[in-house]
Assembly symmetry: C2
Homo-oligomer: 214 residues x 2
DNA sequence: CATCTTTTTGCGTACCACGCATCTTTGCGT
DNA sequence: ACGCAAAGATGCGTGGTACGCAAAAAGATG
């Protein structure tokens, strides 16, 4: 018969999501372990228990697979913003939405070693890889578009005519990015929550130039 | 003999710069004309009058070559900021530095057709290409790092301990990016100068939430 | 001009992205 | 419960990319 389009039943959808997650996870895992160019697509597929050809049914590049979790997380910020009470001031809501993405989810338990130094070093090397930075940034941009839509909705502004929602989304994204960078680069960093809160506050204050009169 | 390191004499340096420019230009040109994946590295090399292997001596990917001009331009923003008078308020100086990058330089005359519709369409398609967005964003990030350094210098803040300079750089980058996007997406856009000025002003004002009381 | 340094070039290798045809799994109507 | 249709997985083949390596060309130097 003629089915209604777009519908997809439970099992299919779940399996697909599982495969996607397995591939993304395997990609990150292997890359952090061995380094970006010591991992072949074939390895990732094998680790996820799937054929090499299938990999490209889910991701159009190795880099995209590795950045997929970053994308998923970032997209949740927009969703989180929509969940915030409508009366809440915008920047408070944004801060809260951003912070939610940094609470360890249930999948962290599957981590090989939550604080193992070798793992941390691998992740750092991964983030430093030029080939991945582009993909990460692209994911951030995608998420920012979603966020801008949510902001437009919340503030009653118009995406098509006002720069405002995009500016807010970009600024919020920048706050999170800078806070994370600061967190990773600093030898003895403040807790990430504080950094993000602080960054957002500075932006909401208009980033006033510190007076050099002193 | 043992020469002073890093030195490179005139002709060498100039030829290298010329080749790089030729490759970057050819890459953009061909891509806007035929579309991203109808251009092979071989074609770009040929158009630049150089061997295919040489291409990868200058750029590590096709995308990087295409984004190279964007990178060069963005980097000039940081340089421009350093040229601004020290007494000028930060956000004024940033606005001016950003605007300088949008004045048509002397190389525009070599354009095939400054306002040819087909060219504009090609450029649009090029900017929409996912494979290029990542590289563009990476270039922007590189430039923002430079800009942050310049801001730190100008404001007397410390890149290593303060988030401030990076936040300013990121916010300024966001302002320009949003303004450009708005300019490109809008059917009847305001002049780009006005858009950038306006975007920076909004950010410097802390992006206050428009009151929905009305 | 002799020599050293830097770039270019050609070749070979490993890998990646994806179109296409085929086989398997899953969903759904009867 | 059965069987058809849609969606997904897989294998294979193709075209293309990135880069190491070593030889040749071009530029610099005294």
């Amino acid at each position: 018969m003629f089915c209604y389009g777009g519908g997809m039943t439970g099992l299919r959808q779940r399996k697909k999501a599982e495969t996607r997650a397995a591939l993304g996870w395997a990609a990150i895992h292997l890359t952090a372990e061995r380094g970006y160019d010591n991992v072949r697509v074939e390895d990732i597929a094998e680790a996820a228990g799937v054929s090499p050809r299938t990999f490209n049914n889910y991701f159009s590049s190795k880099a995209e697979a590795i950045a997929s979790r970053h994308l998923d997380r970032s997209l949740r910020t927009a969703a989180a913003l929509r969940e915030r009470p409508a009366g809440e001031p915008l920047w408070e809501a944004l801060t809260a939405a951003a912070l939610e993405q940094f609470r360890p989810g249930p999948e962290v338990e599957a981590m090989p070693s939550p604080a193992h130094p070798q793992w941390a070093a691998g992740v750092r090397a991964m983030l430093a890889e030029p080939a991945l930075q582009g993909e990460r940034l692209r994911a951030a941009a995608t998420a920012e578009a979603e966020l801008a839509a949510a902001v437009a909705e919340r503030t009653g502004t118009d995406l098509a005519t006002d720069m405002y929602p995009r500016l807010v989304a970009a600024a919020a994204g920048a706050a999170v990015a800078v806070a994370m960078q600061h967190y990773l680069d600093s030898a003895d960093p403040a807790p990430i929550d504080r950094l993000i809160t602080d960054a957002v506050r500075q932006i909401a204050a208009g980033l006033p130039e510190p007076s050099r009169l002193r």
